[in-house]
């Protein structure tokens, strides 16, 4: 991570992406570009297709058409494990902590996909709670601890593009604040982050750009400096 970040480099380019679960057509021609080191959010109401977009990037939905370029490689025909090895770290909405593994086993489960990941010590410094609970079973953790673990788990692998799905959902304000600090640190390290977020007040100060989704389409793209001007439009989309 010591190299200067080339902020013009296109880490992710999604063009004309359609995605399906069985017969249901979820995403209708999505276009997204994310450059290296950017923090971009996907906003929208429940069911707008934000989580599906992340899953589609990971090839975890049914059928997909269109194109998803990661670091210039088209990944539409790649299996999920090959996509992960391009440096993508995925944190699912349900957090995906393995109940039968302890904290340390969960943490060291994902293989290292790129060099430059954080060491265990660095991770435990960032999340001291996890260190204290490192031999507890995954099933014994609180929601906040699970979320910390789910985040920490993909930081160790060296992934430089993180897909984070609703990481603040259902968590106490103090933990949400902690997650915000973590995201700031990761951004400072030059990681590219795509954040699906319900909590706009959490996302707004962190993000460089926002994509607003509705009915499986991108309906608006708002950069951080346009946010004030487009606030009422955004409120309209989000229904707040």
């Amino acid at each position: 991570m010591s190299n200067p970040v080339d902020r013009e480099y296109e880490q992710l380019r999604i063009s004309g992406l359609h995605a399906f679960y069985g017969e249901s057509h979820i995403l209708h021609g999505i276009n997204i570009v994310v450059r290296r080191g950017e923090l971009v959010t996907l906003l929208g109401r429940n069911g707008a297709g934000r989580s599906t977009t992340l899953k589609a990037i990971m090839n975890m939905v049914g059928k997909r058409t269109g194109s998803i370029m990661i670091n210039g490689t088209d990944t539409l025909s790649c299996a999920p494990h090959q996509i992960a090895r391009l440096g993508v770290g995925y944190c699912p909405e349900h957090r995906g902590i393995f109940a039968s593994l302890n904290v340390q086993e969960n943490l060291t489960l994902p293989p290292v996909v790129r060099s430059g990941g954080m060491g265990l010590e660095e991770i435990y410094n960032m999340f001291p709670n996890l260190y204290e609970r490192r031999f507890s079973q995954g099933s014994k953790l609180s929601g906040g601890e699970q979320q910390m673990l789910a985040m920490a788990r993909i930081l160790r692998t060296g992934a430089n593009m993180l897909l984070l799905d609703e990481i603040t959902e259902g968590l106490a304000p103090v933990i949400v604040q902690k997650l915000g600090e973590v995201l700031m640190k990761l951004k400072a390290k030059g990681l590219t982050i795509i954040l699906v977020e319900q909590n706009f007040h959490f996302a707004a100060p962190l993000a460089d750009r926002h994509y607003v989704m509705e009915h499986g389409q991108i309906v608006e793209e708002i950069s951080a400096d346009e946010l004030e001007a487009k606030q009422s439009l955004l409120n309209n989309y989000l229904g707040v």
């Binding site: 990971m58 975890m60 299996a79 999920p80 494990h81 996509i83 992960a84 090895r85 995925y90 699912p92 995906g96 393995f98 109940a99 039968s100 593994l101 086993e105 060291t108 489960l109 994902p110 293989p111 996909v113 788990r153 993909i154 692998t157």
Partner: protein, 295 residues
């Protein structure tokens, strides 16, 4: 002669020993089934046929090439495990996204095909396989006579069961298996080659069955139909222990062997039914099995 409950100790101990030996086979076989079920969620009806393949391979390799018992102990499971990998890769993988009832039927069909073809070649009367000279004879324990080979079967089966448990519960590879049992899609999303892991896991479960087959060759009648009857009992054991529980499969296997042995002493007519009786009772009281997680 000393008696317990009106039964000579020697008879009781002898049946108990037979029970433990049968239990060791139940444990090895249900362990393989549990490993396969855990990751693939497949009820492997081909397990009995693959156990038989392990035994038959041992006999045929000896007759045709003079391959001795010790080499077979390694070689037969590897060969049969490879057959298992082929079955997974060319058949099971293609229907992995369908309802699991299809893979159950498919493995059942595979078992019938293997059994049918080999019956055509070798018949059903049973092949002879003589045990290595080193195992001839036994030791008199005072209250009973313990044949060396039976002692070896118990020891090695328990070692393999313990080794498998250790690998699954305490190693990195085992953590992949446990995690894959919970959410294999997410595992793949982390960069783990899950399709390969699935093939190897199925192959490993099959190797355990074949290993049990090699152990069985010197003491049971080796024929293409030897797996069929055993498999039904082993399924009962798996249901009693709880689907997918590793330790549960081993402990229940041994326990059921012993219960069967005891029943042979006190009520011989009930010996072949007692395991199923236990199964019915366990299902009524604890539907997820003795060691299964509550659904």
């Amino acid at each position: 002669m000393d008696m317990i409950l009106g039964v000579p100790i020697a008879v009781l101990a002898g049946q108990l020993l037979l029970g433990v030996i049968n239990g060791a086979f139940y444990a090895l076989l249900s362990l393989g089934l549990a490993v396969i079920f855990g990751l693939l969620k497949i009820i492997n009806f081909a397990h009995g046929a693959l156990y038989m393949l392990g035994a038959l391979t041992t006999v045929v390799m000896f007759d045709a090439f003079g391959v001795n018992y010790w080499v077979s102990l390694f070689l037969a499971p590897i060969l049969v495990g490879f057959v298992g990998v082929l079955i997974e890769y060319f058949l099971l993988r293609r229907i992995a996204h369908e309802d699991h009832i299809y893979s159950l039927l498919l493995t059942f069909g595979v078992a019938l095909v293997i059994q049918g073809v080999l019956t055509n070649i070798y018949g059903v009367s049973g092949l002879r396989y003589s045990m290595p000279d080193v195992f001839r004879g036994g030791v008199n324990l005072g209250f009973m006579f313990l044949p060396y080979y039976r002692a070896w079967v118990i020891v090695i089966a328990l070692l393999v069961c313990f080794g498998t448990w250790f690998m699954i519960e305490k190693t990195k590879l085992g953590s992949y298996l446990r995690a894959g049992t919970e959410d294999s899609q997410l595992m793949q999303g982390f960069g783990i080659n899950v399709p390969l892991l699935v093939s190897l896991t199925y192959g490993f479960g099959v190797m355990l069955a074949a290993f049990a087959g090699v152990l069985a060759a010197p003491i049971y009648s080796v024929s293409p139909v030897m797996g069929g009857n055993l498999l039904i009992v082993v399924f009962a054991v798996v249901v009693i222990g709880g689907m997918g529980s590793i330790a549960g499969a081993v402990i229940t296997g041994l326990l059921m062997g012993v219960i069967e042995g005891f029943t042979k002493v006190f009520y011989p007519e009930g010996a072949s039914a007692v395991i199923f009786l236990v199964m019915v009772i366990v299902l009524l009281i604890r539907p997820s099995g003795l060691f299964g997680k509550e659904a």
